[in-house]
């Protein structure tokens, strides 16, 4: 329905987009005892690290191969080797997740080749998994880096399954997209567990970056999914993927292990959750628990109460494709209109979005298109635009550095959808203008009708 256009500008102003490698690093952060490593210059890591610290308000494990000018020109084999050895000695991780950057991709470093050489030279590192993903900064965006990394991990770390293997009927794989928050994961876990099943989440940020006080200091990731659990994912009965970006990962899983998958392009809204709950009931063979039934009923009530405030509102959204799809579909279901949509990268979803145009662009583009909108929805960087436009601003996505609890923002399931209605609905209510005696005053020259009446007498 939407026409997908690319910005024609040479200069991006107020970027909406973030780079591919940091999406990749974030995916690695959902693995237990992992150290994500950027093959690039020090600043590549520093910017990503600061961004995540500001968003999650947690210590973030992220290392660098610290490519100097000379190393960049000569190639980074020694730096990759030294980084891996140093990390192995210092942090003793189970896995090192390596993402390339613009610098090393421009040079054309063959990291796969390097890893082979390093493996030969350092048998003492055999117990550490090394996963490499090619993620140049000058191509694609954040969610692409995440999706590629998950796919790569499945290809490399999930064990193939013999044809006669006995699958665990209680286990369900869950492959969340980059836009699924730790809070969302907690909600999905609760729902799956409510049917007596156990979700195996790859990657699992809910264990590592959900904001809790840990049991000990550890320089690597805390929590997350362990390597053994990843290896055994082929024995689960089903895979549930959340977000279109996860389709290649779910397909890779099916191809390697034969586990069938169901992809939900979003889990915010009533009908999509009905489908989700039905699937869980079908897989488990159990009736829907009363708790979930109650949640559904509450969502329905919230939609009834809330729709008054959403109806006819014009919304401007800037978000990565999967999040944009999720929000625009949900807004439309409540009677609002997506008047401006800007995103960061290609996706088959974009042309299906119910709006005139989806632009792959920046926040300047969004600001321009949001002039007559009632709400701006994007990450924290939209704050300046919202100020200038003088319209309410709902923060969602990464980075969210000027609000608390970014990791716990939950918009999936009946409950998450309900809360989202209340939160945004209340913003509309708060921004409504109280009438005053001058609100409906007539233009000066028309004069007061009463005066004319008096003069006539």
């Amino acid at each position: 329905m939407a026409k997908v256009t690319h910005t024609q500008k040479a200069c991006a102003v107020n970027p909406l987009k973030m780079s591919q490698p940091i999406g990749s690093a974030l995916a690695f952060m959902g693995i237990k005892n992992c150290m994500p490593l950027f093959h690039g210059s020090q600043g590549c890591t520093s910017f990503g690290l600061v961004l995540f610290v500001r968003h999650f308000k947690e210590a973030i494990p992220l290392q660098t191969t610290a490519m100097s000018e000379v190393a960049t020109v000569l190639g980074g084999l020694e730096n990759v080797e030294q980084a891996i050895v140093t990390i192995a000695n210092r942090q003793k991780p189970s896995i090192i997740g390596i993402s390339s950057t613009g610098v090393t991709e421009t040079k054309g470093d063959d990291v796969d080749g390097y890893l082979k050489l390093i493996r030969e030279k350092h048998p003492e590192l055999d117990h550490i998994a090394l996963v490499y993903v090619s993620t140049p900064d000058f191509k694609d965006a954040f969610q692409d880096g995440w999706a590629k990394t998950v796919t790569r991990m499945i290809e490399q770390l999930v064990e193939p399954v013999p044809a006669d293997a006995v699958r665990d009927p209680a286990k369900v794989n869950l492959l969340p997209g980059a836009h699924v928050t730790p809070g969302d994961l907690d909600e999905l876990r609760d729902l799956i567990e409510a049917f007596g099943m156990e979700p195996v989440i790859l990657p699992d940020l809910s264990g590592s970056l959900d904001g809790h006080v840990p049991d000990d200091f550890t320089p690597t990731t805390i929590g997350g999914i362990g390597l053994e659990e990843i290896a055994a994912m082929g024995l689960s009965r089903h895979t549930i993927a959340v977000g279109e970006q996860m389709r290649p990962a779910a397909e890779a899983m099916e191809k390697k292990t034969g586990v069938p998958y169901t992809l939900f392009d979003r889990l915010t809204g009533l009908e999509v959750n009905d489908e989700f709950i039905t699937l869980l009931a079908g897989l488990s063979g159990r009736p829907v628990p009363n708790k979930i039934k109650r949640q559904r009923s509450q969502l329905v009530d919230a939609m009834l109460d809330g729709h008054f405030h959403f109806g006819g509102k014009r919304i401007a959204i800037g978000a990565e494709p999967d999040l944009l799809w999720t929000l625009s579909g949900w807004f439309r279901e409540l009677g609002a209109e997506v008047a401006a949509a800007v995103t960061t990268t290609e996706s088959p979803l974009l042309e299906r979005i119910a709006t005139a145009e989806v632009l792959i662009g920046d926040l300047e583009d969004l600001e321009k298109r949001a002039a007559d909108c009632d709400l701006l929805v994007t990450h924290s960087h939209g704050r300046q635009a919202a100020e200038r436009l003088a319209i309410p601003f709902y923060r969602i996505g990464i980075p969210m550095f000027d609000r608390l609890g970014a990791a716990h923002q939950t918009i999936v399931g009946y409950r998450g959808t309900r809360d989202l209605i209340f939160e945004i609905g209340n913003m509309f209510i708060a921004s409504g203008h109280e009438p005053n005696p001058g609100t409906w005053s007539l233009p000066e020259e028309t004069g007061h009708v009463g005066e004319k009446a008096l003069a006539a007498h």
Binding site: S19, I22, Q42, F47, K139, V213
Partner: protein
């Protein structure tokens, strides 16, 4: 790249930089380009440093030429404040793609400058070079020159791709860029005998405005602050100042020194952190201006202002002094702040149990010793576990640090206050000092600590108890096994640049009878890089009696 490398050499030859002047000529050539350790490095790059240094020039467009990572991941992350234009907060980047990498990004850069000038009409555009375009050979100097000519506006190249070195080098390269292309290119409408420059001050949280009213009252005009709340025109005219104050010498010494050389503007280094330091700085500014022709009565007015403002500040702190007496502070910061904040906190009656000296120079360390006594607890670089142990052992009540180490304190359920660049409160001048004390008091007095430290009813032991037990067990193991203790002591990495352990230094001292830091450096190469460890080496030499094999002190020292 030739212009970048010659600029880097230039920066390394900086006579105003004490660190570099302490090196031999050969070492100086190598400059600060110490090889960072892959897998063990942290911190920003040269581009980051350059952007930080110039970004507070508020009315120009800061255009980052590179892939999305360099600007997309980092923009709008600094708390500088502007009294006028907010254009500096707008993120501009060429966001180059694969095609640009293959065919070159110069055209896109030129077009970007054009778009910015058409849409935003800034007085100037600053163009930052990053790693990828530097590698593919984009000549930003040429593009900027062509664009300047075509659009009749200054387009300033800032050549500091990330991989040429660390953040600090980037600060200096940024300084070179404005020295070459901006400073001295315009003239102020008028000048007064009271015109000063402030250099190396970024107006974070609006701190400059805590000091500006003081100068205003004295009739002293900040002709330009480089670069906090600066406007392009101010920077361009800054060569007409009568004197300059250098606030953060490590980042922009080259600007202060070259402005002295080129325009005869004398400068001094001072700090606005702490009551006495602020007073000293004001006196020095007045002194410099009087020497350059301002009337001598300026000093009388300055003293009167100092007397009045100090009294006000002490009165402001007084109510807190009693509440804060005996409270202990662990300070984890670096550079000039490691002593300027020490002075400030002592003024408030707080007790310092330790201060970090990461990034501090020898002079900084001397200042700390002056302030805290010979046995000042100076911490070089710490792992999170060591930091936690320090908090426990020192029984500190609060930790003051930058955002990166905040979680050590917070997860240990310790009060913490941000005193680094991301902080939200301004702590400069007399009012800033009162503000800092107020914030410390607020953090310490919060009832939340008592609540969060309570264990859950079902919990058998807390993680703190387990961590304490582990630390105690470690200490006991070391006490029981002198060999292990010795091995651990000897394995401490003293010189990070040249990867020299304490054991190697000890062996060299004993074997060759070395008695000076220089001799140790010559023999082991320790201290020949950034020279940050020379103080530690001196300490090893001083304490030879404690660790010489057979020394009575040796086992006892290790148990401690």
């Amino acid at each position: 790249m030739s212009s970048v490398s010659s600029k880097i050499q230039d920066v390394f030859n900086e006579p105003g930089c004490g660190k570099n002047q302490g090196k031999s000529e050969k070492e100086r050539k190598k400059g600060c380009t110490k090889q960072l350790q892959p897998g063990g490095a942290a911190g920003g790059c040269a581009f980051d440093g350059a952007k930080i240094a110039l970004q507070p020039i508020t009315d120009v467009a800061h255009l980052v030429h590179g892939p999305i990572a360099c600007e997309g991941n980092s923009w709008d992350n600094r708390g500088s404040k502007s009294s006028g234009s907010n254009l500096w907060r707008t993120g501009f980047t060429t966001d180059i793609n694969e095609t640009d990498v293959v065919f070159g990004g110069e055209k896109r850069l030129y077009k970007s400058v054009k778009e910015i000038i058409e849409k935003y009409d800034p007085p100037a555009v600053f163009v930052y070079q990053t790693c990828v375009p530097a590698m593919i050979g984009d000549d930003i100097d040429a593009v900027c020159k062509a664009a300047s000519k075509k659009f009749g506006k200054p387009v300033i190249p800032v050549n500091s791709p990330g991989f040429v070195g660390p953040k600090n080098l980037g600060n200096k390269l940024a300084g070179e860029a404005i020295l070459d292309h901006v400073i001295g290119t315009e003239e102020p409408e008028y000048t007064t005998p009271y015109d000063i420059n402030i250099i190396g001050e970024y107006n974070l949280s609006g701190e400059l405005w805590q000091v500006k009213p003081l100068l205003d009252e004295l009739g002293i005009r900040i002709l330009c602050c480089i670069s906090g709340d600066a406007k392009y025109h101010d920077v361009a005219c800054s060569h007409r100042a009568k004197a300059a104050m250098m606030v953060c010498s490590k980042s922009m010494i080259n600007i202060a020194r070259k402005m002295e050389e080129r325009y005869g503007i004398p400068f001094f280094e001072g700090s606005f952190y702490g009551i006495e330091d602020t007073s000293d700085a004001l006196r020095e500014i007045s002194q410099f201006l009087i020497e350059r022709g301002a009337p001598a009565e300026l000093m009388e007015r300055t003293e009167a202002l100092i007397a009045r403002e100090e009294a006000r500040a002490w009165a402001g702190i007084e109510p807190y002094k009693q509440r804060l007496a005996g409270k202990k502070v662990l300070l984890i910061t670096g550079g000039v702040k490691s002593w300027s904040v020490v002075a400030a906190l002592q003024e408030a009656g707080l007790e310092l149990v330790g201060t970090s000296v990461k990034k501090s120079t020898k002079e900084d360390k001397e200042r700390i010793k002056e302030l805290m006594g010979e046995d000042a607890h100076m911490i070089d670089d710490m792992s999170p576990r060591e930091m936690y142990k320090m908090l426990k052992d020192a029984k500190a009540d609060i930790m003051l640090s930058g955002g990166r180490s905040q979680f050590i304190a917070l997860k240990a359920k310790m009060p913490w206050l941000d005193i680094n660049q991301e902080r939200h409160h301004a702590y400069m001048g007399y009012v800033g000092m009162v503000e800092l004390v107020k914030e410390i008091d607020k953090a310490l007095a919060n009832p939340v600590w008592e609540q969060v430290r309570k264990r859950a009813p079902w919990e058998e032991t807390t993680w703190e108890e387990r961590a304490d037990a582990a630390i105690a067990a470690e200490a006991a193991a070391l006490a029981a096994d002198p060999e292990l203790a010795k091995a651990q002591r000897r394995s401490a990495r003293i010189c990070k640049c040249k990867a020299v352990d304490r054991g190697a230094i000890e062996d060299a001292i004993l074997e060759h009878g070395l008695d000076s830091v220089e001799a140790v450096t010559e023999r082991t190469h320790a201290g020949s890089g950034c020279t940050g460890c020379t103080g530690t080496i001196a300490g090893i030499l001083d304490s030879i009696e404690d660790w010489r094999p057979g020394s009575v002190n040796e086992p006892a020292k290790q148990a401690a």
